[in-house]
Structures are given as structure tokens and as C-alpha cells.
Amino acid sequence: MDYGEFKCKWIDPAFLWNVADETRKKYWPESTLPVNTEEIVEFRLRLNIEPVKYLLSTIDIDAYLKRDLSGIVVDYDCYMNDKFANRMRFSFAHELGHFFCIRNYTRVLELALLGTGKTSSLMSLRANIETLNGRLTNLPVAY
């Protein structure tokens, strides 16, 4: 795949607001503030949280969603230090945005991976999506 030719699909911001509202209603029905995004990640979606040391200081990011959608990698110091709780809450929310958008574009991802010959990544992605879909379907009604 020639990444130079990749064109990002235009998504109407109104549509995104709607998705965000629906997601919040579904996964944070308490509607209290602040939204505990860490709880959504770990307890409601059952994604792994993988703290990695020096992530922020070496590559200047404090969190990213894993390509196989199995979890979120976070900077160890930001994650463990209560001083950065607000920043982490935002980071989790940001990665959840990727998660919910990407889940709807798995076919695109599969095709991209097919082109690279990365069979194990492709299989891992498919397996994780199946697991995640199962978890999302099996969530209690309140969620």
C-alpha cells in the first residue's frame, strides 16, 4: 500500500457529535461529570491498559490505541501520578474516539494489512474484533 496516496475520509462533525453522544449514553449512563474514561476502558470495554516507561519523554505521546485494538498503551509516569489524572482522562477519551471510529472501519484496516502481508497482525485484529464485539453485545443493559 502506498501511504502517500492515502486520503482520509471526510466525516461530518455533526455526525461525530452524534456518535459521541450515543457512545456516552451507552457507556456512561450515569451522566455524571467527569466521565470516568479509565473505567470505561478497563471495566466496561475490558481493554488492556499497558503502561510503558518513558513513552512521553521519548516519543512525545502519552497514550495510543494498539493496532490490534486489544488495549491502550499509556505513559507510565502520567498513568501512575495522580497529578496527571485529568490529562489521562482526556487521553483515554481521545483513544476511545479512535476505538469507536476504527471499529466501524475494520474492513479498511483488514485490506491495508492484507497488502502488507502481515498475516499475524491481520489474524490478531480479526480475533480481537470478534472478542470485542462479543463483549459489547454482552454488556449489561445499563451500559
Binding site: E38, E39, E42, F43, N48, E50, P51, V52, M80
Partner: protein
Amino acid sequence: MFGEFIKQRRIAAGISLREFCKRTETDASNWSKVERRLLAPPQDEEKLRKIARVLDIKIGSPLWKELKDKANIDAGIIPEDMLSDERVLNSLPMFFRTIRSEKPTPEELDKLINMIRKE
């Protein structure tokens, strides 16, 4: 085995990875790997007791024994109480062969017959 066991109980108790690691004084980066079976579980008795306390597992209960056994098995270690019993220890090769569906040798069969007769 051990990792999934702990994670399941931790999540059921509503304890986040961060909170769990703070309370057990464990490195969260390493612990996340233990839960994903990328690192061997701790073997230190005091550490395992601390983990049990945080997860509300009573020391000495069947769950506590399961926790310890799973920590041993994941690290490829035969539990200590098994090692201290010579009879159990001597029977282990036969047990391993049985679960691998390998037939015992005539000598081992004789040994087994003798053992049964002595009972």
C-alpha cells in the same frame, strides 16, 4: 492462567490496574505484562499474600491455594508441598507419562503393582 485469574478477580472487585499496583506496591508496567502472560508471576510468599489481601482472598482458603498453584504453574515450578512428599515426587514421571497418553514400561508397571499391594 495466573494473570487471567488475578485480572478477573481484580476487575470483579472494581480495582483498576493503577490502584491494584499502588496497593500491592508493584510496578504497573510489569504487572500488566504478568496479567497478559508476558512475564512470569511472582513467587515471593509475602508478595502473593499482599495480592491476596487486596483481592480479599483469605490466606489458607481454597482460593489462596489456587492462587499459589497458578503462580507456580505459570512459572514452570512444581508446588513446594508436592516436592516435599517423596512418594508424590517419585510418581510424577509416571503421572506425566499418563497425561501424555504414553504407556508405562514393564518395570514401572511392576513398581505400581508392588505399591498397590503394599497399600
